[in-house]
Amino acid sequence: MEKLKGVNTIMEEDQLKLTLKRLSHELIENHYPFDNTCFIGIQPRGIPVSDFIVQYMQSLHPECKFPYGKLDITFYRDDFRGQIHIPNITDLPFSIEGKKVVLIDDVLYTGRTIRAAMDALLDHGRAGKVELCILVDRKFSRELPIQPDYVGKSIDSIVTQKVKVIWGNEKKVVLYEGIS
């Protein structure tokens, strides 16, 4: 991994897990018994978050079914000219027509990723309702009118900083000085 400068850990592993569990409980509170709800992780970095949340909810409610898909937004980005992004797999093994869809991603920053995700999602059908679940919300940095429904942690940051969720042996969320 690249050497990161000015690293601040904003969530340690224990806290990260607690937060993910809390998000799961909030989702359960609003969506139980999940008859008409599906969960969609945004490729690539939303997937570890959505994997954790869906698995945890499943362990709490083994009797329920959790339709779970992965959405790649590469072809819907508005910034791909500068740098070609390699597409990941879109895997939506169910219809979203009329469903309540919960989009899950790791960091919400400008809102452009979510804009692209909504466009990508609508190409798969007309969802009844779309909600957004975010692990880290970078406040006051939105470039589009998009707000999350479920927030793990809100942080203040400046443009030159970056936020990264690390899913190695030691899981944590860090804030560091970006190169650019």
């Binding site: 000219r81 070609i84 992004h85 390699i86 190409d123």
Partner: protein
Amino acid sequence: MHLSSKHLLGIRDLHREDITLILDTARQFKDVLQRPIKKVPSLRDVTIVNLFYENSTRTRISFELAEKRLSADTINFSASGSSVSKGETLLDTVNNILSMKVDMVVMRHSATGAPHFLAQHIPAAIVNAGDGINEHPTQALLDALSISERLGGLEGKKVAIIGDIMHSRVALSNIYLLKKMGAEVTLAGPPTLIPKYIRESFGVNVTYNIREALEWCDVANVLRIQLERQNQVLFSSLREYNHAYGISKKLLDSLDKEILIMHPGPINRGVELDSDVADSGQSIILDQVENGVAVRMAVLYLLSGRKESTS
């Protein structure tokens, strides 16, 4: 991650990583094409001209569909019925079109090297859709996608290319690609249609016995006999060609394994391929056509990323 080249002029200029990148991207576009809404907005701000100086059905429709699926704006140009018949040069025609703010050019031309010439003179990205007897890169890429879908990869696979190797741009692009990806290649056909030093130049096997080639291979890519070259007397008659080099059901059934049959189209039924072979379960000819759209979407998508960022 980018392609190493600004244009797609031929497989000759590509690296192995480029080919892998194009095929991986094409697989994702193939998924998009299975959806109810088969369109993505990636190339919304790109205008593409399809310049066809030579006839084409599949390639032209396939490129046009790929462009539309990517939401690009397209213009079609055929040499017949244009100012080309008034004597306008290739470069003048293209510069006139580009002055109307066109970003990419897809071109087929009967002259070998025409897209390479253009690439030196114009700023737009160029995709070669077949130039003379040189290359037809997107065909080789879609053939590679079709083979790897069925056989799970290209490395070490045995591919026989059968028929008119001499005049075939499909053959040349396929040879470049398959050798770069680590497949083995055997060329088969009449001696008059196989260039003399091709074995040494490309490290391929050559046989004049079609049965030998079929017994060896996993996949047979059968080329079209170009009827327009009949007057050159490279073989005595179509009937004799069919007898010696045509692929019949009987011949395939007599092999001790089931091989895949490919053909770039248009098929001369009863010449290089018998009808019952072309329509059999071993034939993946329509898979090739289907994959063509996804591969061309991948190429256009990856090349369009080279455009200067406006944001």
